[in-house]
């Protein structure tokens, strides 16, 4: 009874984090290293999911990715893929909600890497990609992992956008938070609630502690 939501949550959060991570690294790179006209605007958009009411984010997801939506219709017609009311949609919602936290953590990692080292790598013959994979990325890896862990934790706890976009279908989209909510509506489910809440707190605390420890490993040459 309680394990289905836990397993689903882990599955959803894992997919969300895996897909969001490369995008977050790329966006963090642009924000950390490049100066361009829309810089502030991009930064603002990245942070939007942090401050918008999650229900609003969920609604916007429905509008765009629902069967009738612009991208949703395209996805269905071209690939036969539906996101609304599917666990993959839950992953999309969770990924978007965790994205700002990932970008913030990874950007700090970029900024901590001495660009002098990158210059040295360039004089030694490394290409742009080479500089990134051989110097920048290894040096900021703790920050990337910290960002992934934070994003994962946030994805685990996502409620508002998830329930709006994909509802809380048991076995399909009923993640831990939506399962807790559903259990609270029905009398006699207190035991399940307590277990799920306990698991939720443990996962969240664990993620925060891991992220802190990793962030501290970034400091120092």
């Amino acid at each position: 009874m309680i394990w289905a939501p836990v397993i689903l949550s882990l599955q959803v959060s894992a997919l969300a984090t895996l897909c969001a991570l490369p995008v977050a690294v790329w966006v963090a790179y642009i924000l950390a290293r490049k100066r361009f006209w829309g810089h502030g605007l991009l930064n603002g958009i990245v942070h939007l999911p942090l401050v918008l009411p999650p229900v609003v984010t969920g609604y916007l997801l429905l509008v765009v990715f629902g069967r009738q939506g612009a991208l949703g219709g395209l996805l269905f017609d071209t690939f036969g893929v539906t996101l609304a009311f599917r666990w993959t949609g839950a992953a999309l919602a969770a990924g978007i909600m965790g994205f700002p936290l990932m970008v913030r953590a990874i950007r700090l990692g970029f900024e901590a890497v001495d660009s002098g080292l990158e210059d040295a790598a360039r004089t030694l013959g490394a290409t742009q990609t080479g500089v990134f994979t051989r110097v920048t990325l290894p040096l900021m890896m703790p920050a990337v992992i910290a960002g992934a862990v934070l994003g994962f934790a946030k994805a685990l706890g996502e409620f508002g956008a998830t329930i709006t976009f994909v509802a809380a279908i048991p076995g399909q989209t009923q993640t831990i938070p939506t399962a807790i909510y559903a259990a609270l509506q029905v009398p006699g489910q207190e035991a399940a609630v307590v277990w799920l809440v306990g698991i939720s707190i443990t996962l969240a605390m664990g993620a925060l502690v891991a992220s802190e420890w990793l962030a501290r490993r970034m400091v120092g040459p």
């Binding site: 002098g116 040295a120 790598a121 360039r122 004089t123 030694l124 040459p221």
Partner: protein, 360 residues
């Protein structure tokens, strides 16, 4: 090799760059050997070397190395295509890699020879964090060399080191100069390093080249005196070690202007020894002095007399074919009635001559 004839121009530089209030506008040629770029802080040395490396783009100009155009109106090669090795003041070793991996980051050209030359064998498995400043710079040198560069750029590589570490690294730089044929551009504000390492000198002041040419000629040029002062200016002479006097602990060296004796046992017999004679350490005499403590008295001819700056007068001399530079006071000039072409004597205090060779 020190003393070997020029291989012709290898590096040709002309560039202009504006940075705020400061304008860099330089042009010079550098042959094979070590070309030192000397100047005070803020004279544009680092901007110049970064432009050579491609880390900074000049506004206009042309950079050619070994016949290859690195930069001009239509071309601006990125650093990785310029075939250069850059040794930074702060070494910039990659902290996440071992010394061995750092060294081979840009290539493995002449791997064993370079490791040997710089004595890096014992350091290979260590991490950069555990190395001393001198060791870091030697690794940085090795890393730059292993990438098989056509040109080596060194931006004040010894500036961050204390005196003992400097003394530790300098012989390796000399070995590089003498045994590896790669032309080097060596940026420094320390004249002691320049006189020891360089074969050619470019003097920068406020973004402009004020003097350039072979080291000895530039430093012995009377016009260099106001730039570098009487301690900085002064001939650097390539002498040959003739004999060691064990009893009196002296070394005798010769050059085409005569014989000089120096305290201590210096260099191997027959080897080349650089001898520096600062302008303030030459006393002039119209007659051969007698009964004085100085042992180095050379017959010289007066070639130029420059009175442009203050109380000091720059007197250019010729000892054999070698230019020397002396600074005397205006009053002495008047009293001695010196004129161009006069044959006089230069008294060089033996302790004042700064030898730049390895002690044997």
């Amino acid at each position: 090799m020190v003393g070997a004839p020029d291989g012709g121009t290898v590096i040709s530089v002309a560039l202009q760059k504006r940075l705020g209030d400061f304008t860099l506008d330089v042009a010079f040629n550098a042959p094979r050997g070590v070309t030192a770029v000397f100047g005070p802080s803020g004279s544009g040395k680092t901007t110049l070397i970064n432009a050579l490396a491609g880390l900074v783009t000049p506004d206009t100009g042309r950079i050619v190395v070994g016949g290859r155009v690195l930069f001009d109106r239509h071309i601006n090669l990125p650093p990785r295509h310029r075939a250069l090795g850059y040794v930074f003041q702060d070494a910039r070793l990659f902290p996440h890699l071992t010394v061995a991996k750092n060294l081979t980051f840009g290539g493995r050209h002449d791997h064993d020879k370079v490791i040997d030359l710089l004595g890096l064998g014992p350091l290979l498995d260590r991490r950069p964090a555990g190395l001393s400043g001198g060791e870091k710079q030697r690794v940085a040198l090795g890393r730059a060399l292993l990438s098989n560069p056509a040109m080596l750029l060194l931006d004040e590589p010894l500036a961050a080191l204390d005196a003992p570490r400097k003394a530790e690294v300098l012989p390796y730089l000399e070995r590089l100069r003498d045994e590896v044929g790669v032309p080097m551009i060596y940026v420094s504000h320390a004249m002691s390093e320049v006189t020891r390492i360089a074969t050619h000198l470019v003097v920068l002041d406020a973004g402009r080249v004020v003097r350039h040419g072979p080291l000895g000629a530039v430093l012995a040029d009377p016009a260099s005196l106001p730039l570098m002062g009487p301690r900085g200016a002064g001939a650097v002479v390539m002498t040959t070690v003739q004999s060691h006097d064990a009893q009196d602990d002296l070394t005798h060296v010769t050059f085409d202007g005569g014989r000089i004796c120096l305290p201590g046992r210096l260099g191997r017999l027959g080897s080349v020894l650089r001898v520096r004679i600062p302008a303030q350490d030459i006393i002039l005499a119209t007659r051969a002095p007698v009964d004085i403590s100085a042992r180095n008295i050379l017959p010289v001819t007066v070639t130029t007399i420059n009175q442009d700056q203050g109380a000091g007068v720059a007197v250019g001399l010729l000892a054999g074919q070698t230019p020397l530079l002396a600074q005397i006071t205006r009053a002495s000039l008047r009293d001695m009635d010196l004129s161009v072409g006069m044959q006089i004597f230069a008294i060089i205090k033996a302790t004042a001559v700064a030898p730049n060779g390895d002690r044997v």
